[in-house]
């Protein structure tokens, strides 16, 4: 299959050998599970359980709210301890409503929905509903509700379902292991999703540094027509949705549009596996594979963990730390977010937990920009990081926006390569945050204006009515006075 080049990009040290040959191991049930109500993009789910309720594994414990949302299910059987605010696995550490579940150790499934018989001939709407009910979200990290993405076939002209098995971040091997150990499940899920989307062509893209995964997936897909397994060049950020679509189809997704606008929908391989479980067995999403790695960790592993297990539980399973990590990262080192601590839960979009040492991070003191231009050469989005950062340093967000900072996908390539160690992506994240905040403020001010004008109009109307009333009263008084005077005169 003909592939197309993507612009720029980098070739970091991948360091995947720490976990690439380690088979997935299941985490023993921890003492407590913390299931946040919002683990996805969209509206948070609404808790259906309270303190003291007994639940079984896979039981619905929070229902989705609105069009873009996802439900939550109990990862195991047990008793609900509370619904409380717990720090989120987010750099801010801000609390979010979370259901705390105490496992009873029996791990009993609830009565699951019936498997959909013959899903490849079933009504696509049925499949979408099952995916929505099962709480499946994008497991590559974005955590967008998958049922909404599977609905795109009804609104866009689609040609290809592209399964993203690139896993271009260093250290992460969870998708690699899933493809090696459960290739059949992934392929089956892909075929079901293709049917739900109404596309005939499935392409599964895997970076060339995963030859065993390529072989396993090619084997699993060989019996089915319409599925191509393709090896893509090892280049970060090949796993970025728009760039992967460009590599496979040669088409550039126009700015501010979806890949669906050019006929392609992208899903992660683990998401496909979750769809297989939901459709064939009725099982909702209650667990995921997480790569635990990094120089500060005693025993790196790929762990299948129940949603809600604490990061501390997974780290303990890996033998704890050999040294205090310089950074604890959720995801890969390039686009991953720092974690506020170990007492945060594993959520549906958490593909990796990295305990990194200072030498792995290689952070050096920042020195002035020497305008070497390497950031411009390697930016996969064709932006000019050196210029944007210069304006953002002076808080000039408008010019930064004109230069395209909102188009930046925060892949981190520019920060990675900068010889002066300037935190370019940090500047862009700051700028994007400020621009969004200013936008929210502007919209709020417009709302307030509308309310104030409505208030003023209402007051005027009341004033006119009151004036009319006063005039009427005055007129009546005058008439009465005139009548009385007349009487007097007549008497």
């Amino acid at each position: 299959m003909k592939l197309f080049p993507i612009r720029g990009g980098i070739h970091p040290d991948y360091r995947k050998e720490q976990t690439s040959e380690k088979a997935i191991v299941a985490l023993p049930l921890p003492d407590l599970l913390y299931i946040p109500l919002q683990q996805h993009i969209g509206a948070p789910a609404e808790a259906l359980v309270g303190e003291g309720d007994l639940v079984k594994k896979g039981q619905l414990i929070a229902r989705s709210q609105g069009g873009i949302s996802a439900p939550q299910h109990a990862p195991t059987s047990g008793r609900i301890q509370a619904v409380a605010d717990i720090p989120a696995p987010h750099p801010s550490g801000l609390p979010q409503p979370t259901i705390i579940l105490e496992p009873d150790g029996k791990d009993e499934w609830t009565d699951l929905p019936e498997p959909i018989a013959d899903p490849l001939n079933a009504d696509p709407q049925l499949i979408r509903e099952r995916v929505a009910q099962s709480g499946i979200v994008g497991m590559g990290g974005a955590a967008f509700p998958s049922a909404v993405k599977l609905d795109l076939g009804t609104r866009y002209n689609l040609e290809i379902l592209l399964l993203n098995g690139a896993e271009c971040e260093p250290y992460l091997t969870c998708d690699d292991r899933v493809m090696r150990e459960h290739a059949d499940e992934v392929v089956d899920g892909a075929r079901i999703m293709a049917h739900a989307l109404g596309v005939k062509r499935v392409v599964i893209a895997i970076e060339d540094n995963k030859p065993q995964a390529l072989a396993a997936m090619t084997g699993a897909a060989s019996t089915f027509a319409g599925i191509e397994v393709v090896g893509v060049p090892v280049q970060y950020p090949m796993g970025s949705e728009r760039h992967l679509v460009q590599a496979i189809t040669g088409r550039e997704t126009p700015a501010k549009k979806l890949t669906a606008d050019i006929g392609v929908v992208v899903h992660n391989v683990a998401t496909a596996r979750a769809v297989h479980h939901a459709v064939r067995f009725g099982r909702p999403l209650v667990a995921r594979v997480v790569t635990l790695s990094g120089g500060a960790l005693r025993e790196p592993n790929n762990i299948e963990a129940p949603i809600g297990a604490r990061v501390a539980d997974l780290v303990a399973f890996c033998g704890g730390f050999v040294s205090v990590p310089a950074s604890l990262v959720n995801g890969g080192p390039m686009m991953g977010q720092p974690l506020p601590g170990l007492d945060v839960p594993v959520v549906k979009g958490m593909s990796g937990i990295l305990a990194l040492t200072a030498s792995e991070i290689n952070e050096q003191p920042v020195s002035p920009c020497i305008r070497c231009g390497t950031c411009v050469t390697i930016c996969p989005c064709g932006l000019v990081p050196v210029e944007m950062a210069a304006f953002i340093r002076k808080d000039n967000f408008e010019v930064a926006a004109q230069l395209g900072v909102m188009d930046c996908v925060s892949c981190g390539s520019c920060s990675w390569i900068c010889p002066s160690h300037i935190p370019l992506v940090h500047y862009f994240n700051y700028a994007k945050g400020m621009l969004n905040a200013l936008d929210r403020e502007r919209r709020k001010n417009e709302r307030v204006k509308t309310l104030a004008e409505a208030h003023t109009a209402r007051m005027e109307k009341l004033e006119i009515a009151a004036a009319a009333k006063r005039a009427a009263v005055a007129a009546r008084k005058a008439n009465l006075a005139a009548a009385t005077t007349e009487e007097k005169t007549n008497a």
């Binding site: 040290d13 080192p333 686009m335 305008r371 070497c372 010889p419 935190p423």
Partner: protein, 358 residues
Amino acid sequence: MSIASINRSGPFTHAASSVQKTMLTVLLALLPATAFNAYLFGWPGILLFAVTVGSCVAVEAGCLALAGQPMKAALSDYSAVLTGWLLAMSLPPWAPWWTGVLGAVFAIALAKHTFGGIGQNMFNPAMVARVALLVSFPVVMTAWVMPHPLFSAGAPGFSDAIAITFGGNLPDSVSAASALGYVKTELSRGIPVTQSMAHVPDLMDMALGTRAGSLGETSAVLILAGGLFLMARRIISWHIPVGVMGALFLMGTVFHAVDPARYTDGMFHLMSGATFLGAFFICTDYVTSPVSKPGQLVFGIGCGMLTWVIRTYAGYPEGMAFAVLLMNSLTPIIDQYTRPRAFGRSRKGEPLPLEGKP
């Protein structure tokens, strides 16, 4: 348990690149040519080189102290050393010591720190210094000498060298014209190029360096080797060197074909003067050249063309320094017009149109 304070976003890994590494690689690339030329011109050249580089580092330290900035961090990136090195390479090898010191003040204090320090200067510091010295002290700055290799007969010993560099006693008998200078002088006397070419060193001499010129002008082959090394190490890309040399060669060849008596040919232009040094080390200065690759190509072509024009028509025989400064002033506008096209957008910045699909 909280690990570390979260005060930075990712990425949490980094390439092994650093400013220091880059500068040291450039110095390494310059080393062979510098060493050979030090041998060719003997002790006076070595002394002047030491004085120039030393003054640059001293002036940089002084400026940093004046500005109240951390000295160790800034000095250890070797940028002042590199500026001094390039400045020394463009001075006449037996020039007096004060050209080096004055050049250092022009380059570091005037052209770099008054603009805001490293990364903020608009003009190439070494070239600003060279041009300022050339315009202010034309006689001293054009007193080229023939090579007097170290330890050979006729070469000045160490004490003689001190007299030459610090005493200013440049023996008249040793001065010689550079090839470009000779051709220009002869042209002004009405002797056509075709004739004067017979009296300049042949191309092989010019390539190897056994002729009069500055430290950096002489050994073209070693400079070329250094430049190719830099390209192999990805410190510089091919865009600027090819632009400079290509434009220069093309202009020379075309005009020589039109009027051989008036214009020297392309190869002569390539081999003489500071062409290779300029193409690989001077024009490619990060701070003062455009950031995008197409911009760098435009910049290089501009440098090459201007160098040819100045060499041919202007009052000075060597045009590279002036050409570089003129193109430096155009770098911001070149940057503005050669921005890359953003992903998903047209060159104008509008989102790409969706193709009409059935």
